[in-house]
C-alpha cells in the first residue's frame, strides 16, 4: 500500500513505471525476489528436486542391494554416512531414490486434482444455477469423508501401489479444490467489472478469458501449493500403513514403517525419513505462503 501511495505521489516515478508497462506476473516476481525466506525455501526444494531426479550421480550405492552383515549401522558409518536400514541397504541412497516416489506421490495428485477440480470449480462458479448445484452437491458427498479416510478406502478397494495411491489422493483432493475454485469464481463473477464487461457486449468466453481467469487462477494456485505438503504426508501415511508403495521400493513413508522396528537399535537412522517428510512438506507450505503474499497486489 505504502509502495503504491509514494509512487502515485511521485509523477517521475510513475512515468517510469508506466513506460515500462509491467505486467502483473512480472510484479509478482519482483515481490517474490524481495522475500528472502521464500527464495531460500524455493532453493531448498529445487536442490532436493535435482538430487532426487539425478539420484545416481549423488550416490555410489545401489538402494536395493542389502547386506546381512551391515544391518542398522548408525549415522556416520564409513562408506554409509547416513547408516543402513534393517536389511543393510545404504540409507543415503534410499533417501534419494525414496524422494522420487515421495515427491511424485505428493505433487502429482495435487496437480491432477488442480486440473480437474479447478476446471469443474471455475465452471460451476461461472455458470451458477443448476450446474453449480449439481457439482457442489456431488462435492459435498465426497467432502463428508475426511481426505485420509477417503484415500484409505480407495486404495483399500483398488489395492496398494504407486498408481493407485496417486489416483486415491487425486480423488480426495478434488473436492477441496472444487470448493475453493467455485467460491473464488462466484465472488469474482459478481463484481462490477464483470457486469461492466457484460455491458460492453462481450461474450461469456471472452469475459472468462480476460476477466475471470486472471483473477481466480492466482488464489487457486496458491491453495493448491498449500495442499502439496498435506499430500506428501498422506502419501507417506498410506505407504506407512502398507496401502501405498509396496516393498522393496524406496519411499519415505514406507521406509519409516520398515525402520520402526529398529528404532531402539539406531534411533537417528529410523527417524531420518520422517525428517525428510517434515522438511519437504514445510518447504512447500512456506513457498505457498510466500506466493500468496507476492500475489496479493493490494498489500
Amino acid at each position: 500500500m505504502e509502495d503504491s501511495a509514494t509512487l502515485a505521489a511521485d509523477p517521475a516515478m510513475a512515468l517510469k513505471r508506466a513506460q515500462q508497462g509491467k505486467s502483473y506476473w512480472r510484479r509478482v516476481w519482483e515481490r517474490l525476489r524481495e522475500d528472502k525466506v521464500t527464495l531460500a525455501v524455493i532453493a531448498v526444494l529445487g536442490m532436493l528436486l535435482i538430487m532426487v531426479v539425478f539420484a545416481p550421480w549423488f550416490t555410489i550405492h545401489d538402494p536395493y542391494a542389502g547386506s546381512v552383515l551391515r544391518r542398522l549401522k548408525p549415522v556416520g558409518t564409513p562408506g554409509h554416512w547416513l547408516g543402513t536400514d534393517e536389511v543393510g541397504r545404504d540409507l543415503w541412497s534410499r533417501m534419494l531414490y525414496g524422494g522420487r516416489l515421495s515427491l511424485l506421490a505428493g505433487v502429482a495428485p495435487v496437480f491432477l486434482a488442480l486440473l480437474i477440480g479447478g476446471f469443474l470449480g471455475i465452471l460451476a462458479g461461472y455458470a451458477g444455477g443448476l450446474l453449480n448445484s449439481a457439482v457442489m452437491r456431488l462435492t459435498d458427498v465426497l467432502y463428508a469423508f475426511p481426505s485420509i479416510l477417503l484415500a484409505i478406502a480407495i486404495t483399500g478397494i483398488l489395492g496398494a501401489g504407486l498408481q493407485n495411491t496417486i489416483l486415491a489422493l487425486t480423488i480426495s483432493f478434488i473436492p477441496p479444490i472444487i470448493r475453493i475454485s467455485e467460491s473464488v469464481t462466484t465472488q469474482v463473477r459478481h463484481l462490477d467489472f464483470v457486469e461492466a464487461a457484460r455491458a460492453s457486449g462481450a461474450r461469456r468466453l471472452t469475459i472468462m478469458r480476460y476477466h475471470i481467469l486472471s483473477n481466480v487462477l492466482g488464489p487457486i494456485l496458491v491453495y493448491a501449493t498449500s495442499l502439496i505438503s498435506i499430500c506428501i504426508i498422506l502419501a507417506a501415511g498410506l505407504s506407512f500403513l502398507g496401502l501405498g508403495v509396496t516393498p522393496p521400493s524406496a519411499e519415505w513413508g514406507l521406509m519409516l514403517n520398515n525402520l520402526r522396528q529398529g528404532i531402539w537399535a539406531s534411533p537417528l537412522v529410523a527417524a531420518l525419513p520422517g525428517v525428510m517428510i517434515f522438511i519437504t512438506s514445510m518447504c512447500f507450505n512456506l513457498m505457498s505462503d510466500g506466493l500468496r503474499q507476492a500475489m496479493d497486489v493490494r498489500l
Binding site: S4, Q19, E195, A196, A197, G201, R203
Partner: protein, 362 residues
C-alpha cells in the same frame, strides 16, 4: 461552470427536452414501457419461491435525446434495478425497452449487443468496476476490442479517451486500479463507458462515493463530455442537490413505482406528490430561517415483498384516505402542466379523494 448553467436552464427553456409533447417530433431516444422485475425470495427446504420482492413494478418513462434524466428515491426504491434492466444486465419479467423506436431483444428489433453499443453504464463502486489485474487502458480498450477493433487500435482509442477524461495517457495508461485515487478511477470508468461511443450513459450513483470536491470535478467533467460527445444521461442518485444540479428532468421513485416525473426545476420548486414533497423538505436548507423543523417522514419504507394495497405510499402519507387503500393511482399528466406527471389520487378529480377537487384549483 458555464456548461453546467446551460444544463440547469434547459430544463425550463423552450428548446429543452419538453418538446417531447410535440407528436410531430421523432420517437424518443429511449422509451420504457411497463418495465417490471420481481426477484424471488427463496426459502424453505427445497428452495421454493416463497415470496417476490417487487423491485421494479410497472415503470414507464421516456428519455429524450440530449437530456439528463435524474432518478431519485430512497435506497431500495428500485433505482439501481431500473438501471440494470435498462442495460439488460438482468432480464425484465415484463415490459419493453425501445431505442429510437426499435424494441430491444425481440425479433426484428435491436439485439442486446447493438443496444450495448448505444447505451453504457458507470457503476457506483469505482474499484469493483475495474479489473484489478488489468492496466486501466486495457479496461477501457476492452469494449472496442470485443466489438472487433484491433488491439492497437483499441488501445489508441483508450489513450484518446484518457485524454478526454483529463488523465494524461502517458502517466495513467499502464497503471492498475489500486494505484489510482477514487476520482481518477471514476474518470477511467467514464472513459470505459464512452469507449463504444454510446448515445446514452447511465450513471448509477456514479459520483456518490466520491468526496465533495472530487464529486464536483467529476460532475463538471460529465457535463463537459455530454456536450462534446452529444450524450444523453440517465443520472441515478440519492443526492437531491446533485440531481437538481445536473438534471433537466427528474423522476421520483418509491417502492418500485414512479410517483412523479417532470422538469427538474418545476418539480423541485413545486412538488406535487406528497412523497416528493416529503423528500424535498428533507433536504437541508442553506437558509437558517427555512430550516427543517419536523421530520417530514417517519419510519422505513414498507417491505417490498408485501407492499401496501392501493397506493404504496399511503402508509406514510399525510393525505391518505380510504380510496388510497383501494386503488393504485396511475401516473397521469397534471392538468395544469402537461410536462409533469404524478401518481396520486389527490390530482385526479374523479378519484373520490376528498382533496381531489381542491387540489386542482391549487
Amino acid at each position: 461552470m458555464s456548461l453546467l448553467k446551460h444544463h440547469v436552464t434547459t430544463g425550463d427553456g423552450a428548446l429543452g427536452p419538453l418538446s417531447q409533447r410535440d407528436p410531430s417530433r421523432s420517437k424518443p431516444l429511449l422509451a420504457i414501457e411497463h418495465l417490471t422485475k420481481h426477484f424471488p425470495l427463496q426459502g424453505g427446504l427445497f428452495g421454493r419461491r416463497r415470496a417476490m420482492v417487487q423491485a421494479v413494478d410497472d415503470v414507464s418513462f421516456v428519455v429524450e435525446r440530449g437530456e439528463t434524466l435524474g432518478i431519485v428515491g430512497e435506497s431500495g426504491c428500485g433505482k439501481s434495478t431500473t438501471a440494470r434492466l435498462l442495460m439488460h444486465l438482468i432480464k425484465p419479467d415484463r415490459g419493453s425497452i425501445a431505442f429510437r423506436g426499435q424494441r430491444v431483444g425481440v425479433a426484428g428489433g435491436l439485439s442486446q449487443r447493438e443496444l450495448h453499443r448505444q447505451m453504457q453504464m458507470v457503476f457506483q463502486d469505482s474499484y469493483a468496476s475495474l479489473n484489478p489485474r488489468l492496466p486501466v487502458a486495457m479496461s477501457i480498450a476492452f469494449g472496442p476490442f470485443v466489438h472487433g477493433l484491433g488491439k492497437t487500435e483499441a488501445l489508441r482509442r483508450a489513450a484518446e479517451l484518457l485524454e478526454a477524461v483529463g488523465l494524461e495517457p502517458a502517466l495513467f495508461a499502464n497503471r492498475y486500479p489500486h494505484e489510482l485515487s477514487g476520482g481518477q478511477r471514476q474518470r477511467i470508468n467514464v472513459a470505459r463507458a464512452l469507449a463504444l461511443e454510446p448515445r446514452i450513459v447511465i450513471l448509477d450513483e456514479a459520483v456518490s462515493a466520491l468526496d465533495k470536491s472530487v464529486e464536483a470535478q467529476v460532475l463538471n467533467l460529465l457535463a463537459d463530455l455530454k456536450v462534446r460527445f452529444d450524450l444523453t444521461y440517465v443520472f441515478i442518485s440519492h443526492d437531491l442537490n446533485v440531481v437538481r444540479y445536473i438534471s433537466d428532468r427528474v423522476m421520483v421513485m418509491y417502492l418500485g413505482k414512479v410517483v412523479e416525473i417532470g422538469p427538474a426545476d418545476r418539480v423541485y420548486r413545486d412538488p406535487q406528490h406528497p412523497y416528493t414533497r416529503a423528500l424535498l423538505s428533507a433536504m437541508p436548507s442553506m437558509d437558517p430561517r427555512r430550516r427543517t423543523r419536523q421530520a417530514p417522514l417517519s419510519g422505513d419504507p414498507p417491505n417490498p415483498v408485501r407492499p401496501p394495497s392501493g397506493c404504496r405510499f399511503r402508509t406514510r402519507c399525510p393525505l391518505a384516505e380510504a380510496v388510497c387503500e383501494k386503488a393504485a393511482p396511475a401516473l397521469l399528466a397534471l392538468p395544469s402542466d402537461g410536462a409533469r406527471a404524478v401518481a396520486c389520487h389527490v390530482h385526479v378529480p374523479t378519484s373520490g379523494h376528498t382533496r381531489a377537487a381542491t387540489a386542482g384549483a391549487e
